[in-house]
């Protein structure tokens, strides 16, 4: 499939007008661009919220339940949204996790939201502290990551790359605010080139070959290296909650008297209870084993199952860990062994 992008220019004031028009039409505009370089949150939660109702019920007599609403559509219904200002890596992460929810029995809660949402990302100007997306996201996928990609043309206007027709369908006549100008392709190419060639922050010089990393983890499966590497980890799950590709969840009931909800809540492989069996047996008793799972899932299991790495190199797990656990440092430390695999 060849993806042919088209390019547009839009003034910042026209964009504001467009947003106002859209709101009037009842569409939701979510502007993340104000966050600027605040990279602490990804847009994951807009598709896969930290807690989400999947059922609502009323307990009548003797546990006889009324499960509401009767119509499946109502529970999974999503509103039309336009997300402006996502990070490219986070938009790409939506593509990465899409198959988990979309393949097999379809999780309409995620998929309906994705289908009703246009994601517009803003190209990053430079790599930030601990970013390593260039090591992970294929160059060819980079500017295709979102439905629309914006980059500043000048003080007053944006250059826009549109990767599909979804925005035209979404905005209708409103799309006329975008003025086609395919010469802008060059600007995008130049900016990407610059980003990819820019200095890596914090001397992130080494990223292992995936095959070798997989072999390394499997070979050292029961060794002490994972415990050593995650010695400081307090199992707080900040790394997984802030990760745009982490998608593990729990299913939990919340009841008040006779009314209640069943909810899908974020969960984390960093928690000791995550895999605890009813018998008391826990296959992952130590934090090191949980970290091993995190690495294995991201760089090997996910690749085997969905042919993508479940990491986009956003660097959040490194930036936000309160204990200074850093997976790039782990790789660096194991470099010689990994490269010998």
């Amino acid at each position: 499939m060849t993806i042919t992008a088209s390019f547009y220019k839009i003034t910042k004031s026209s964009l504001a007008t467009l947003f106002a028009e859209q709101k009037q039409k009842g569409n939701t505009i979510i502007d993340l661009s104000g966050n600027g370089s605040d990279l602490s949150k990804s847009c994951k939660a807009l598709f896969f919220p930290a807690t989400e109702k999947v059922l609502e019920y009323k307990i009548v007599d003797k546990g006889v339940a009324e499960v509401k609403p009767d119509n499946f559509n109502d529970e999974t219904k999503a509103v039309n949204r336009f997300i402006f200002g996502a990070n490219i890596c986070d938009a790409y992460a939506l593509k990465v996790v899409g198959p988990v929810f979309g393949e097999g029995p379809v999780d309409r809660f995620f998929i309906n939201k994705r289908e009703a949402t246009i994601v517009a990302a803003i190209l990053c100007d430079n790599k930030k502290n601990a970013c390593f997306c260039d090591q992970i996201i294929p160059r060819s996928d980079y500017s295709n990551a979102a439905d629309l990609v914006f980059t500043e043309f000048d003080e007053n206007s944006w250059a826009v790359r549109s990767n599909n027709n979804r925005s035209i369908d979404f905005f209708g006549n409103g799309f006329l605010h975008f003025i086609e100008d395919n010469t802008l392709k060059e600007l995008f190419d130049k900016k990407e080139e610059k980003l990819f060639n820019s200095e890596n922050p914090e001397e992130i010089n080494y990223f292992p070959k995936l095959e070798a990393l997989k072999k390394f983890i499997e070979k050292n499966f029961n060794s002490e290296i994972f415990n050593d590497a995650s010695m400081n980890c307090i199992g707080c799950a900040t790394c997984t909650y802030s990760c745009p590709t982490c998608h593990c969840f729990d299913i939990v009931d919340e009841k008040k008297y006779y009314n209640g909800e069943r909810r899908k809540n974020w969960d984390s492989c960093a928690f000791s209870l995550f895999t605890l069996h009813a018998s008391g047996h826990n296959p992952r008793e130590y934090q090191g084993q949980r970290w091993r799972q995190r690495l294995l899932h991201k760089f090997s299991i996910y690749k085997d199952r969905f042919d993508k790495i479940a990491c986009v190199g956003c660097g959040r797990c490194i930036r936000l860990c309160p204990a200074g656990v850093n997976m790039l440092e782990m790789f660096e430390k194991w470099k010689i062994s990994i490269d010998h695999m």
């Binding site: 999947v54 059922l55 019920y57 307990i59 003797k62 546990g63 006889v64 339940a65 499960v67 499946f72 559509n73 529970e75 999974t76 988990v100 929810f101 097999g104 029995p105 379809v106 999780d107 309409r108 309906n112 499997e218 499966f221 029961n222 998608h247 593990c248 969840f249 729990d250 299913i251 939990v252 009931d253 009841k255 209640g260 069943r262 899908k264 969960d267 492989c269 995550f274 895999t275 605890l276 069996h277 009813a278 018998s279 047996h281 296959p283 992952r284 084993q289 799972q293 294995l296 899932h297 090997s300 299991i301 085997d304 199952r305």
Partner: protein, 287 residues
């Protein structure tokens, strides 16, 4: 469009205490249309839930042939936590939510004409019981069936009535055993752990000039016990493709999304819970 988290609403039509803290519930669909579209195969599992309490994973402990005949399913579970306690308190006439069927099944069609040995212990009999009845309902298609079943004490044996039925059935060898110290004065069965008893049984087959090669083995138990049992079968050089087991990892969603049941790249809820010994041995040691 379907909400995959929405359960079938079922009604408890029978409750039985099998052993201390072990309960069997017999369940019937509330809605005719659900009953009509439901079917499953032996070895598959379900998420049983109580609104307000949560969901729990157990196998479908009754046979698909039974469902075809009587339109009910059964589950058997040990009361250990919040949800199982609530499920254990359910009475006849009360409602339960069930999401099912999930996972892979035992490939019994490929066992036709073969002898089958079941070896299991304690609360691991329920998944095996589904297979046993499935085969017994089509008895002329399969060879001799041997069931080696152990529990800590005599009281802990589940399905006591069915064990009696199996003892009396032609074509079935039923060997019950209890752990040393778990016997009662009148205990007629064996004393010893079930893997040991299975070992004795196999040794006897060999001593009698029997052939182990065309036997299918179905074993089930906690991870450590599975490992021990596999070692014993290895010592008899049993073909690993003829050994089946079912893993009981912690699960939530049942369909490969919530991310907690994996053993390396294997998702127990989707790729299993039924695996051959060959598959088990290829897995990373993470269960």
């Amino acid at each position: 469009m379907e909400n995959i988290y929405r359960p079938y609403v079922m009604e408890v039509i029978k409750r039985k205490e099998e052993a201390p803290m072990v309960v069997t519930l017999r369940l019937k669909f509330k809605e005719k249309k659900d009953e009509e579209r439901f079917s499953f195969q032996t070895g598959q599992f379900a998420e049983y839930g109580l609104l307000g309490e949560g969901e729990c994973t157990f196998c479908l402990a009754s046979s698909p042939t039974q469902f075809a005949r009587d339109k009910y399913i059964e589950c058997t579970f040990r009361i250990v936590g919040k949800v199982t306690s609530a499920l254990g308190r359910l009475d006849v006439g009360e409602t339960i939510g069930v999401r099912a069927p999930y996972g892979a099944h035992f490939p019994i069609e490929s066992w036709k004409g073969k002898k089958i040995i079941f070896a299991t212990g304690g609360i691991a009999l329920p998944p095996i019981r589904s297979v046993i009845w499935n085969l017994l309902d089509r008895k002329n298609e399969f060879g001799q069936i041997s069931i080696i079943y152990g529990a800590k004490t005599v009281a802990d044996l589940v399905y006591k009535d069915e064990i009696k039925q199996w003892e009396d059935m032609s074509g079935v060898t039923m060997i019950s055993t209890v752990d040393p110290g778990g016997e009662t004065p009148g205990w007629q069965g064996k004393i010893g752990y079930f893997p040991t008893i299975m070992k004795e049984h196999l040794a006897k087959i060999v001593a009698d000039g029997g052939n182990i090669d065309d036997i299918i083995f179905v074993i089930c138990g906690p991870p450590v016990v599975i490992k021990i049992t596999l070692d014993i079968l290895d010592s008899f050089k049993v073909n690993n493709d003829a050994i089946f087991t079912t893993l009981e990892n912690r699960m939530k969603c049942g369909f490969g999304k919530c991310g907690r049941c994996n053993v390396g790249e294997v998702y127990v809820c989707k790729d299993g819970p039924v695996f051959t010994a060959t598959q088990i041995k290829q897995m990373l040691p993470d269960f």
